[in-house]
Symmetry: D2
Subunit: 157 residues, 4 copies
């Protein structure tokens, strides 16, 4: 963890999602906050927004690493916005900035993030997501996902 | 194709590979050159190097979009080097710069490129590669891969 | 300011500096914290480190947007690290992430950040820095720099 | 020059320019082509377009490293387009990809490129451009600029 005081976890997932997936994302955010972890995400809607809301509602802190140019692109539950202006390349920054990544469902964009995380040998915890490798650590539910992310981080850092 | 005179095709694949995969990559490069296409790739070893050699040996032109800082990182079959200095984020530049992508086998890095290409609705032709979506157009062999890439480009641009 | 609750200000300057410049940077960080602003910077040494220390010593929050790959590259006064892995291209992310930039002295790297900020029509407050344009708002001292940054932001957002 | 067969020179300058500056840019492109150098630039209008035209009209080859997403953003004199999708961060890729940079006039965007080039200790040849450092090598005219760029490259690579 270097000099940092708090664990940073990235939540990755699509910009639009069903109510069921929104609930999963919210619970991931909630459990990250309850465990005093900082939540990083892509800062937009869908999984990113619901996870951020779950963290915010529980006094957690949220960072949005945005693809575009404007701080105002961030969803309403982001505390600190980092508008990268580098479009899809910001996916890689989201992955790098988490000590572990929790993937919640997701489409091709999320798959690209999972693949980069595995390439970088970063722990990836999966919830209802792409089943493309045994290197993805499957979680039974959001609480389990957060527990496994923290365990992985404590083992590695 | 905008104002460009020639078709640009990106070849994606791992930085190390078996002899069999090297042959496939070489043949992809050869057929791109025979069809007067410009080959773009990540500029390093393995699939990138063998594809570039196949193009060069047949009077094709090759562009290497490098992750690092130095022009001298390019393999010996690259004509023009673009050292981006943006590390894995250059994968996305490789994908964007091809009017289509041909994926030859590949590990997680290649998977991230395939996923980004699909996210961007760019044609992806697969040779012995990740079988993660029906959106990947499977090719029977290198000649077929190049033929399908050109067909896709002519239909879309 | 979009949905954000706090003002974000980027402090830019060189990775090594004299004691006098370190004091200026520290005071900029201190006044940002006293005004409840979040400090963003490049996360490394010199001006970045002293500004972050000034903020931290006064209960401010600090974000380090790093050029490299590792969270552990951050100086000891960074609360949240964003390792971009995009090298000098991260300068642009630092500039974009501030609602205003305060430049403290600086060499060519800082000049590139000032130039990008002016190109993006972002307010740039200068303290002992490059005198290359009337568009740079000169500050008499760190307190004045922070005051002018906040004024600019309130006028523009 | 690593494995490359040809010298790569980046021409940097604004996206709009006067007729006089357009002539200077055209002549820079022409002399690069006459010296068998590959011209790289940002691929858009103004200095970039006139330099590319000067090279193309003299059988030179031109590479456009674009800020946006589309190959079709390239001006009509670009042979190979690299749409980076990373916005202003592509300025740094343009600088890195030249073994030397020739700056023709230019506003803040060009200044940011000059500053990055100097930071990277890359030779910068200046024609009617920002006079911010003795490290910029002044050229008397386009022919002289190309001559000085080639000399610098031969001394360093």
């Amino acid at each position: 963890m270097g000099n940092l005081n708090k664990i940073q976890v990235s939540v990755i997932g699509a910009g639009t999602c069903s109510d069921d997936i929104a609930s999963l994302a919210y619970e991931v955010g909630r459990h990250l906050a309850l465990n005093d972890c900082i939540l990083l995400c892509g800062g937009l809607g869908g999984v990113m927004e619901h996870a951020a809301k779950g963290a915010r509602d529980n006094n957690g802190q949220t960072i949005g690493i945005l693809p575009g140019f404007d701080i105002s692109d961030a969803n309403p539950y982001i505390d600190i916005a980092v508008p990268t202006g580098i479009s899809h390349a910001r996916n890689i920054v989201v992955v790098r900035s988490g000590m572990a990544c929790i993937a919640v469902e997701g489409s091709y964009g999320t798959l690209s993030e999972i693949a980069i995380a595995l390439e970088l040998k970063k722990p990836v915890i999966g919830l209802n997501t792409w089943d493309i490798s045994p290197d993805i650590i499957k979680a039974a539910n959001p609480e389990d996902a957060v527990k496994k992310a923290i365990e992985q981080i404590k083992n590695r850092f």
